[in-house]
Symmetry: C2
Subunit: 221 residues, 2 copies
């Protein structure tokens, strides 16, 4: 294998191990063994576990960010629901590693790892603004979108801790939460009200937002 090919193979093996258990618990010996090479050869490509962890996290970050990409077609609610499905696929595949990273700690909290986590949040934020068709967001819209992204993170982390609520329910619920947080903001601000009306005008009655309205009417009666 060439140098770059070997590096990429090692990153793949490491990502697999760092995803399935807390990175604290994964040793270089184990990575070497899973890759079928010697421990010194691992150090030939990566100076230490942290640099290999950061490279694996880089690949995972790119992959997670790409899951927010979605064609600009059709109603927003259905787009967000597809994004949430791919988001929970990722969380499901990388559970223990995702938890360890997001909960922080000495082994996983370096300035590089923090920058990678922030880059995924920023990519998600840019994608959602683009779905909303907004290029220069007012402060209240920025707050709703960024705080909803953090709500999706905390919901995923709580889900991973025991998986006591079905995934599909949480995916739908997060789309409903987006509508609810936007509605609360719109209840306080006219510009947000106009944005909400514009989005809802394009929603079909049988989409996720229509579903929420139906459920809330049933709840109130």
């Amino acid at each position: 294998m060439g140098v770059e090919e070997r590096r990429q193979q090692l990153i793949g093996v490491a990502l697999e191990l760092f995803s399935r258990r807390s990175p604290d618990e994964v040793s270089i010996d184990e990575i070497a063994s899973a890759a079928g090479i010697s421990r010194p050869l691992v150090y030939h490509y990566f100076p230490g576990k942290l640099s290999l962890y950061e490279a694996a996290l880089h690949r995972a970050s790119d992959e997670l960010a790409s899951r927010f990409v979605e064609p600009r077609e059709g109603p927003l609610g259905a787009r967000l629901l597809r994004v949430m499905g791919r988001y929970f696929d990722f969380v499901d595949e990388h559970g223990p590693g995702f938890s360890a990273l997001m909960r922080g700690g000495p082994a996983v909290g370096s300035s590089t790892t923090n920058a990678l986590v922030d880059s995924v949040r920023q990519a998600a934020y840019v994608q959602i603004l683009s779905h909303l068709g907004v290029t220069d967001p007012p402060a209240r819209l920025e707050l709703v979108v960024r705080s909803w992204i953090s709500l999706a993170e905390s919901t995923a982390l709580i889900w991973l801790d025991g998986r006591r609520i079905p995934r599909a329910e949480l995916e739908t619920q997060l789309v409903h939460d987006f509508a609810a947080l936007t509605a609360v903001s719109a209840a306080h601000d006219e510009e947000m009200g106009a944005l909400l009306r514009r989005v809802l005008a394009e929603e079909p009655a049988d989409g996720p937002f229509g579903d929420l309205v139906g459920r809330l009417i049933a709840l109130a009666s």
Copy 2:
């Protein structure tokens, strides 16, 4: 001064400095100077900056946790609104230190600091369950309360970054967000529906939850 008295004084001085600027930027020399003692004397009481930072964070955590304590009297909406007022007071007083801590990083992300942050989240969670009169929360209620606490954190962090939205609006909005997230969960689950109805039955029309309903009706019409 006695040993314990001097330690407490140093913690107070350090907390003040760690609150006003990112802890990375605060030196032991500066803390010594602000306390009016020599640098070696600081090291006599604390082995290094990290241990002094952790002691200051311990005090700040106790203080923040205490702000979620509120008499079990009157409607829930008004109680949550008072808690949010005290929460934003704290965030306001400790802005740069709060941001640096919650955004993580090498200087502030140790297992001790993570445990302190978690202890505040847990104290807030226990307080809110107690306000709801629930001792054995179902998984969906735990999700709503814990994810709302994380929403309050992210809202506070976004507010600190430029303070572009009035604080009082965000305090009210977070109480409204609590109602909205509970309503979305109730729209998916009968047990949550029963809890929401029980809480709303005790709410006055002029309380924060009544205010939200009025605003949403105005928005829809």
